[in-house]
């Protein structure tokens, strides 16, 4: 890959109007857990590594202003676990050549995750292609780039196939009116995303049972494909047995099953905003997304507001999001009522909320920030209201409770049947308090101390246990069992030491201890039943 881009670089260098650059990083992160799993004998440890390359071709005009870029991002080694884990060697003891086994246990190949172009137009900037997406604190759209969290690691990264346009409307108006152009950092934009062209899960909206004769009260002519008076189709409200082979030649022209979204945003961002006689940093913005899928009657609006304020060491930052609308696309097995008189038993109203707020005191050497966050959960995924959605998995809070315990609990519960409902280490069905103190004895050094306390939002009785006294919307929460006695899910303490050497080498040593209550049935998840967990993690990274 590097060789390829080296060639490209040489070829275009001859034209003398391209500038080639390469960004990215190599990082190796070691994980060690003393007592995470129930059957764990002694500390368990492993190392995972990633090589990320982001080459860029940049065309600049004669005045040196960048006008058109092509950017690509490839994870050449994508969270690959150290060692020969595919039995490449005939006996493990003599293993020499390591395999490319990912952290999920399957083979990991070269993954070109993003490729997009970016160019200036008369009215603004346009991007086209498969690109990163990030907004605010990254609660919903989080690019997962770099090393931006106090504790933990990024593993995913929001990526969209997108047409993107951004402009500075005030500047445009001033130019049209031939007024003096003042640099006001206010931006507005629009993006169009194509999330799905042809989902393999075929939405039907009705179920069919084979072998029902015309005249039977359960006979549905839609299930009698050959019209012989006997149903021959057999499927649920959706048909997930469809494979790529079932795609007709015109599959790209069927718009009813497409998932698309329109994104609108407006943001003001100025690091030198005059406030009470001095300059401070102010960023404030909102965005709205309308995501739709015709055949499932899905029409969802996402609203997100973001604010960042830093003035005289006073720091405020927060993001609030809400997702509303309706959809029939959430077709969990059994999670609907076919006896319902509703026209569409799969229909769910969506009502999701998430937020994170931070306030504190920040200087170059010392900062103290109190963070609180929330991701709404769903106490009953089988009912008609869908209220649960975790925050982005790349918005990391602590090292253990979210990153390991709830991640294990949710993946174990939903299994491969509904991977979309896994927490993946993110903030999930809970609210938390997270004070963090940071001290930098030198410019290239930082010591962090954090505490996380987590409370459940809507206990579902399976992943998060119910307790007597749990309330929902002012009423006692109705659970099949009340297996928990604690109010909270647990707490943890995390510490980190971070330093940057030779400008490019990042080193981090992170440790955490957590105590988890009976809100999580650890024995069912296969985790250490006494609820005490500790971890030591380290990162070596070369950032370029």
């Amino acid at each position: 890959m590097l060789f390829l881009f080296g060639l490209l670089s040489s070829a275009f260098a001859a034209e003398d109007d391209f500038e080639y650059s390469l960004e990215g990083y190599y990082r190796a992160r070691g994980y060690s857990f003393l007592n995470l799993y129930a059957d764990q004998e002694g500390p368990g440890s492993f190392v995972a590594q990633r090589l990320r390359l982001q080459p860029q071709l940049d065309y600049k005009d004669q005045s040196g202003v960048s006008r058109a870029k092509f950017i690509m991002m490839a994870d050449v080694i994508d969270d690959v676990v150290w060692g020969d884990n595919q039995s490449l060697a005939s006996t493990a003891l003599f293993a020499g050549d390591p395999s490319n086994t990912g952290m999920n246990g399957s083979l990991s190949g070269i993954n070109i995750k993003r490729a997009w172009m970016e160019f200036d137009a008369k009215l603004g900037k346009i991007r086209v292609g498969r690109m990163e997406s990030h907004w605010g604190l990254g609660l919903l759209a989080n690019h997962g780039n770099g090393f931006d969290d106090n504790f933990g690691e990024n593993h995913t990264g929001a990526t969209f196939d997108r047409f993107f346009f951004a402009t500075q409307p005030i500047k445009v108006v001033q130019t049209i009116l031939k007024q003096d152009v003042q640099e006001i950092p206010f931006y507005m934009g629009y993006a169009f995303d194509r999330l799905v062209e042809d989902p393999l899960i075929q939405y039907k909206g009705y179920s069919c049972e084979e072998g029902i004769a015309d005249g039977d009260p359960d006979f549905d002519p839609r299930c009698d494909s050959n019209g012989d008076g006997l149903t021959d189709l057999d499927h649920s409200y959706t048909d997930d047995s469809r494979t790529e082979d079932n795609r007709g030649s015109d599959w790209t022209f069927d718009n009813a099953d497409d998932v698309t979204e329109h994104v609108f945003f407006a943001i003001y961002s100025n690091k030198e905003t005059p406030i009470a006689g001095t300059n401070g940093e102010l960023t404030a913005g909102v965005y709205a997304i309308n995501r739709t899928q015709g055949e499932t009657n899905s029409n969802v609006w996402i609203y997100d507001a973001y604010l960042r304020f830093l003035w005289n060491s006073i720091y405020l930052e927060g993001e609030y999001l809400t997702i509303t609308g309706q959809s029939s696309a959430i077709a969990l097995p059994g999670a609907y009522d076919p006896t319902s008189e509703a026209v569409d038993p799969l229909r769910k109203d969506v009502n999701i909320v998430g937020y994170v707020g931070r306030m504190g005191y920040k200087t170059k050497k010392l900062s103290a920030v109190l963070e609180t966050g929330y991701a709404s959960g769903d106490e009953n995924v089988a009912d008609g209201i869908f209220t649960g959605r975790p925050l982005s998995p790349d918005f990391n809070v602590g090292l253990i409770i979210y990153d390991q315990v709830l991640a294990n609990a949710s993946s174990k519960a939903w299994g491969s049947t509904a991977e979309a409902l896994w927490s993946q280490g993110s903030v999930y069905n809970s609210r938390y308090l997270h004070p963090v103190i940071s001290y930098s004895p030198k410019d290239n050094m930082e010591i962090l101390l954090g505490y996380v306390h987590v409370w459940p939002d809507r206990p579902d009785g399976a992943i998060i246990q119910c307790a007597e006294g749990d309330m929902l919307n002012g009423e006692a929460l109705d659970c099949a069992q009340y297996g928990a006695t604690a109010d909270d899910i647990g707490w943890e303490i995390d510490v980190a030491f971070k330093t940057r050497l030779h400008n490019h080498i990042l080193f981090s040593l992170e440790a955490g201890y957590a105590q988890v209550t009976d809100r999580i049935k650890l024995s069912n998840v296969g985790l250490n039943e006494n609820g005490s967990f500790s971890t030591l993690q380290t990162r070596f990274a070369y950032e370029f």
Binding site: S207, S236, L332, P333, G334, A335, D337, P338, T339, E379, N380, V381, A382, D383, K412, A413, W414, G415, S416, T417, A418, D460, G461, A462, I463, Q465, C479, A480, Q481, G483, K521, S523, N524
Partner: protein, 299 residues
């Protein structure tokens, strides 16, 4: 519809007797109006299914069948995933020539890549099986079924296996957390024709009628457990979670159409921890053993 009409007529003549039985269970609680029995058995809709055989017996006089003499037959068995009907390869099948799993198996076989195996079983005699896969692979849950009966003319037999994915996702959908030191009981409620019975409710009790405090009962819709289904649907399927290890009885109740409930069937079940214990109930049968017609002795 025919079965429903017959049942409505029939229910009037027996409701008093059957309601007494329900009361016996209620009496084990100090507050009958809020008893656990009431929270489990409350269906008001009359059952849909053929209930004619019920007239032939109740409890002390449950239907009894006289089977022909048992003999060993060889069946082509297949291990099938309970939810997907997909074959389960490399499954260990242990057959016990008794109506419960106890001691060493009488037959052991392993399914091939297509889930098929061959086994010698006693025809016209209830036997049990236990299906499991390599625990290190974590692919399936141990599945146990008693009261399995193959007829004299049987040539094939299907054994159920429950995948870990199904086992895990069911509690999540139902809002239940199974205890690994307790077991799960599952089965089907059948009418007199051996067809799934709709509008039946299930309660698992011990020999004295006591209901384990941890018991949670749920029913299926379209062959998948539903949190909102309050009684058996057309598929007749039920699941009872968190039953302690030991000997229990599966009781099937229906509405008598007059505000009471009738005990229609019972089936004993030996529950093993951290496993699926299948025990179906057949209207008018008190032992969960319903012989196929080829096993019934004719005079």
């Amino acid at each position: 519809m025919n079965g429903l009409m017959i049942w409505s007529l029939f229910a009037c003549g027996t409701s008093e007797k059957e309601t007494d039985t329900a009361q016996e269970v209620e009496d084990t609680n100090s507050e009958p109006e809020t008893s656990m029995f009431d929270s489990i058995i409350y269906v008001e809709e009359v059952p849909i299914g053929n209930m004619e055989c019920f007239a032939e017996g109740y409890q002390d006089t449950w239907v009894t069948q006289t089977p022909v003499e048992s003999e060993q037959i060889t069946v082509s068995g297949s291990v099938i995933d309970f939810e997907t009907d997909d074959p389960v390869p490399e499954a260990k099948v242990e057959v016990f020539y008794a109506n419960t799993v106890y001691g060493a198996p009488d037959q052991t076989a392993t399914s091939d890549g297509s889930g098929n195996f061959s086994a010698t079983v006693p025809a016209c005699s209830p036997y049990s099986y236990r299906v499991s896969t390599d625990p290190d692979l974590g692919a399936t849950k141990v599945t146990i079924e008693a009261s399995q009966i193959d007829g004299l003319t049987s040539t094939t037999s299907e054994y159920n296996s429950v995948s870990i994915d199904t086992y895990n996702v069911i509690p999540a959908l139902l809002g239940i957390s199974p205890d690994i030191d307790k077991g799960i009981v599952a089965g089907t409620a059948y009418d007199c024709d051996g067809e799934p019975l709709e509008f039946a409710q299930i309660v698992v009790t011990d020999a004295d009628g006591n209901i384990p405090e941890s018991e949670v009962v749920r029913y299926f819709v379209d062959s998948f457990p539903s949190r909102i289904q309050e009684w058996t649907s057309e598929d007749g399927l039920f699941v009872v979670v968190n039953i302690p290890e030991g000997d229990w009885t599966v009781n099937m109740y229906v509405s008598d159409g007059a505000g009471g409930h009738l005990l229609m069937a019972q089936s004993p079940v030996k529950v093993f921890a951290d496993s699926i214990n299948i025990s179906s109930v057949y209207t008018s049968f008190g032992d969960g053993v319903r012989y196929p017609s080829s096993c019934i002795a004719t005079e």
